[in-house]
């Protein structure tokens, strides 16, 4: 179903207001950079914005969602709207070159052209530099929208040529309340709300058995870590690896583990209302007592490091074993 302007305005009031004004005043920038966490509605906003620009009977700044152009943007069939997605791990130079070739020609139907680059941070350096040339000398009537979840990975030369719009993440508690209204048990709702920012995705995730199982394994792993024996390594071997097979899943698993340490931190700081694993409050309080604040911070940074390594194609099994050893600082084996 198509998203309407009002719906997105609830989540992203500032961004939507800026875009609305720029259309009303006829001052659309030649390039935008939409920056914000996963699930903050960047893609939806960019498509809605494209519809507003191309719509045949626009009311004010809102598209009609019914004319040929609106419908074709929805189905991905508009010949003057181009969406570039990473081809595998990254956006290749060839993709940007094809885009440039496309834009050296006149529009198919109108003089207006628009391109959306998803995950713009995943451009190879070559691709980014090709695009740069393109952003420097914009053709009249051409609009670029770059989407990224990792603003700091973008080339500063690209950022400086775009109007940057920051998408605010939804407060997790709001999302969790919504999930609970949808009959999701509270302990899962809160966790899902932290993992993603998108309503539909959170709902889907918390209805998935896989997610509940993942939570169980993570908690088990932590319990094993706390005891000074080798059980943690067995859990990795027998449960973690078969369960978190995809890279994305492994990333999520590490997130879940990170939240345990985060909770312990909050308990030590006395901010109990921010704790995510509330149903295990008693255990968490015990664990928090047994650990120094410095250790928790160290362990959190070890997990974050492991998350970064995951992106550089490290073997997941080795990565997890290294993580366990680091978290225990080799204490169990001396």
């Amino acid at each position: 179903m198509a998203v309407v302007w009002e719906q997105l305005e609830q989540y992203q009031p500032t961004v939507m207001k800026m875009l609305a004004k720029s259309i009303e005043k006829g001052r659309v920038a030649h390039a935008y950079l939409f920056e914000g966490q996963r699930g903050t509605g960047k893609k939806e906003v960019s498509l809605l914005f494209a519809k507003s620009l191309f719509c045949l009977n626009r009311k004010g700044y809102q598209p009609c969602h019914e004319c040929r152009n609106c419908r074709r943007i929805d189905s991905g069939n508009h010949p003057d709207v181009h969406v570039i997605e990473p081809d595998g791990q990254s956006i290749k130079k060839g993709q940007i070159e094809a885009l440039q070739e496309e834009f050296s020609k006149t529009g198919v139907e109108s003089n207006q052209k628009l391109y959306i680059v998803e995950h713009a941070d995943k451009m190879t350096t070559n691709a980014a530099n090709s695009l740069l040339k393109f952003l420097e000398e914009p053709h009249p009537g051409t609009t670029a929208i770059l989407l990224t979840e990792q603003y700091h990975r973008m080339l500063s030369t690209i950022i400086s040529r775009c109007q940057v719009l920051s998408f605010q993440p939804l407060p997790p508690t709001v999302l969790a309340t919504y999930l609970q209204e949808q009959q999701i048990p509270p302990h899962l709702a809160l966790l899902a709300a932290h993992v993603t920012n998108n309503r539909e995705e959170a709902l889907e995730l918390s209805r998935d058995d896989w997610f509940a199982q993942a939570r169980k394994i993570v908690l088990q792993l932590y319990e094993a870590l706390n005891k000074s024996d080798l059980r943690a390594l067995f859990i990795i071997q027998q449960q973690w690896i078969p369960h978190f097979q995809e890279k994305q899943q492994a990333d999520l698993g590490l997130d879940l583990l990170l939240y345990i340490y985060k909770d312990m931190m909050y308990i030590q700081l006395g901010e109990l209302e921010k704790v995510i694993y509330r149903d295990r409050m008693n255990d968490l309080q015990q664990w928090a007592m047994a650990c120094s604040q410095k250790r928790i911070i160290e362990n959190m940074s070890i997990i974050l490091q492991a998350k970064a390594r995951l992106n550089t194609n490290m073997n997941v099994h080795l990565l997890m074993e290294q993580l366990i050893l680091n978290l225990k600082e080799g204490r169990a084996f001396v």
Partner: protein, 378 residues
């Protein structure tokens, strides 16, 4: 939509429009062929967004009914399957019927296919033709003009505008120019037109190559319409649309020298063969360079040296040499391309010094010329 159509006419039309359909496209709807049925006949459209081909099958031709339109309408069908299906149908008539949700039945004899169609509203809209701004050219002349210019377009994407051929319409004349900044090809022709409108557009070289393949070798007139975004070539039942290149074409008129210091007239065919032989060795070298030297009594020496391989020299008798003596080097490939493009048994080559571009044109014909930049050698 429901039509009954002659299979052979349909197959021919589908084959024509298939030339524009590309298998690798980012826009899903363009994998299809659009079929529109009206009381006048059936129109098929294929496109890869750069070029679009429209083929029209009239309902009736020469007292013979080709299409029986039972119910007008339109649909988009997957090109790959549709073209294979119509080619292999058993009977000489085909019935095509579209039901709800664009489910399409294709029946011939006892065979029945059903294909899932797509919404024709999703298909890109081609520009409307305005009949008043039309100019006309005979098909064979148009093909020749394309052949004589399109080879000189640039293949590098660094300056996209040079990958196209510049078409200018002024004072009842069409001037086509192509250059890759090392050589230039220019061709002029008178056109038939009623409007005084002048145009200056750049048509992608690839599109012109495709167009050339589709046109047959008759001397029937082709209607040409230039709009803001597209150019349209219209033959009897075929419409060929191409997008244009965006941007300003460099001013090439000042590049062409008006005076000359040395004029050489040679027989085209002989000269071409001599250059071809000389380039046999040069081809292996770095940039395929041959050297031309004027000698006494109207003789010309063509030579080429590749130090690792060997060298070649050949003398050729020219028709006439006027002006200063000259030694000049140039790319054999560019010279061969240019000589092949020029018509006429004798050509005149006008040099203005060893470091300046030189001109080739047929002896008694002003409508075409080729310009080549020499290569600096020491």
């Amino acid at each position: 939509m429901k039509i009954v159509i002659e299979r052979d006419a349909l197959v021919q039309s589908v084959q024509d429009v298939m030339k524009a359909v590309s298998s690798r496209t980012t826009i899903p709807i363009l994998t299809g062929i659009k079929i529109v049925a009206t009381q006048q006949g059936v129109t098929l459209t294929g496109s890869d967004s750069d070029i679009s081909i429209e083929s029209f099958i009239p309902a009736e031709e020469e007292e013979k009914i080709i299409v029986d339109v039972v119910q007008p309408g339109s649909v988009v069908l997957q090109a790959r399957f549709f073209s294979e299906i119509v080619k292999k149908l058993p009977q000489p008539t085909v019935e095509i019927e579209v039901q709800s949700q664009f489910l399409t039945f294709i029946r011939s004899g006892k065979a029945e296919f059903s294909l899932n169609g797509l919404d024709p509203e999703e298909y890109p809209r081609l520009p409307q033709i305005e009949e008043e701004n039309v100019f006309k050219l005979p098909t064979d002349l148009l093909k020749n003009m394309i052949r004589q210019t399109v080879f000189a377009v640039s293949t590098s994407e660094t300056r996209p505008i040079l990958t196209g051929v510049n078409w200018r319409v002024e004072n009842g004349e069409l001037i086509c120019t192509a250059t890759d900044s090392h050589r230039l090809a220019l061709r002029k022709a008178k056109i038939e037109t009623e409007s005084e409108q002048s145009y200056n557009v750049v048509i992608p070289g690839k599109s012109l190559n495709e167009l050339s393949k589709i046109l047959d070798d008759s001397n029937e007139l082709v209607d040409i319409v230039i709009t803001a975004n597209q150019v349209l070539f219209k033959t009897k039942h075929l419409l060929f649309f191409s997008r244009l290149l965006d941007g300003n074409y460099p001013d090439t008129s000042r590049l062409i020298p008006t005076d000359s210091k040395t004029d050489v007239v040679v027989n085209t065919k002989e000269f071409l063969q001599v250059i071809d032989r000389a380039s046999l060795l040069a081809r292996e070298g770095r940039n395929n360079v041959v050297k031309l030297t004027t000698l006494q009594d109207g003789m010309i020496e063509i030579s080429s040296i590749s130090p690792e391989i060997g060298k070649v020299t050949e003398e050729i008798q020219s028709e006439s040499i006027e002006g200063e003596e000259l030694k000049i080097s140039f790319s054999a490939k560019y010279m061969i391309d240019a000589l092949k493009a020029l018509d006429g048994t004798e050509i005149k080559i006008s040099f203005t010094g060893a470091m300046r571009p030189f001109l080739l044109r047929p002896l008694h014909d002003d409508s075409m010329l080729q310009l080549i930049l020499p290569v600096r050698t020491y």
